[in-house]
Symmetry: C2
DNA sequence: TTATCTGCCTAACGTTTGTTAGGCAGCGTT
DNA sequence: AACGCTGCCTAACAAACGTTAGGCAGATAA
């Protein structure tokens, strides 16, 4: 199986490559990987299909580049919050969790085009693509596992793992229904963090998530 | 846009149609919809590609049939539990929730091949396919919304909707990592139900979810 | 001026895809 | 015996796909 590389290359910024990357991310998100043709993609950026091979060695490499950037956004957002909420301080666990949940959701939705691929099309991506992106994903997941392990010292590692996967499922699935918008994302973040920590039976919910723009019927799916 | 029908037809049971349906469900789950070719699919059931058009009018109709069956499993499982846990009795809300969570996860994993499509490939399915399956989906979601509304009378409808979507995300994403097996699924169901209701800070977790066969590194993705 | 590199285009290639028209063996019914 | 239905096959179709080889205008450097 041929390896697929995509990271770096030259000085990173050339307008052509960047425009292809952005258009590809958007199309992969809207239509999926296989159903996106290089000809349509090229038309988006005012090129012809063959021309894109000057910037990317293959369609697979394009997907790898999109996914790598997406996961890089997530890792950077995590690191930023981790710096502000170090484990040493005796900050309440609930607040540390809330900060990380908010950061995850913000990074996810602010860079939706690049990050959503990890939710929607990583599973069925070509094997070579998955292999190329997996180290970055494992890295991010390991940070969360460590964090939750610190926050829940009396839970077994297996429980921590399953709780993390459940939390990821709750957060990441919002890609498919939560209307983008800072206020909305932050409100959902508070709801999820509060629910994850205190449960839903707790009557002391915050200021409330009213007027949330949830796509309640699913009919908005295009 | 041409409509796509698939439900019923004859007496339902003819070996040919049924074998195609099962093989298609499995292949769609493993490889995705577009990346599954009718020729490979036909080979699975010992046929040639053209022969399948005797049973299904198109590839899209095949996908519709798979998704319809999957959602039917879910609805039936819900109804079964709803009959045993009627709203009238003053059963603790926590127990009603736990029963429904367990039923959802069991139905999901016991019929994995048919149900998983709703998680993994509904979003990017052809528009005609989504339109054909959407009524069944809306029906199932409405049952859950009603249930959660009864269980959480002091939450706003918007909050209920978002909590449901979060719960669905946590449950449904397990399709991608939870090893099938009755014991495992039931243990995860108890963990999720307990976490959703009491939160993760509650120290009185049940007998514990040890030895859970979670695919912790994600490396198991094929 | 000449040479080199960047960035894109044209035109084609081989392959794979969903789909269809027509045929044919086996069976039960009349 | 003739008929019709079921269930599958063969062979081909047009369309779309990812990818490649070669070329060409413009800028930059020697």
């Amino acid at each position: 199986m041929a390896t697929v590389t995509a990271s770096s290359g030259t000085t990173e910024s050339s307008s052509g490559r960047e425009r292809i990357l952005a258009a590809a991310a958007q199309r992969f998100l809207d239509a999926g990987y296989v159903e996106t043709s290089l000809r349509d993609l090229a038309a988006d950026v005012g090129m012809k299909a063959g021309s894109m091979y000057y910037h990317f060695e293959s369609k697979d490499a394009l997907l790898v580049a999109v996914l790598e950037r997406g996961m890089t956004f997530m890792v950077e957002a995590f690191e930023e919050v981790a710096a502000d909420h170090p484990p040493a301080e005796n900050e309440p666990a609930e607040e540390r969790l809330a900060a990380h949940v908010a950061a995850h959701l913000r990074a996810l939705h602010d860079n939706r085009a690049f990050t959503a691929g990890h939710v929607t099309l990583f599973r069925t991506a070509p094997a070579a693509v998955r292999a190329a992106v997996l180290p970055l994903r494992d890295d991010y997941e390991a940070r969360w596992t460590t964090l939750l392990g610190e926050l829940l010292p009396d839970r077994s590692p297996d429980e921590v793992t399953m709780l993390r996967l459940g939390l990821f499922g709750a957060m990441n699935s919002s890609i498919e229904w939560l209307d983008t918008g800072r206020g909305t994302v932050d409100r959902f973040a508070r709801l999820v963090a509060g629910q994850f920590w205190h449960g839903v039976a707790d009557s002391t919910h915050g200021e409330g998530v009213t007027q949330a723009s949830a796509n309640t019927s699913g009919k908005g799916n295009r």
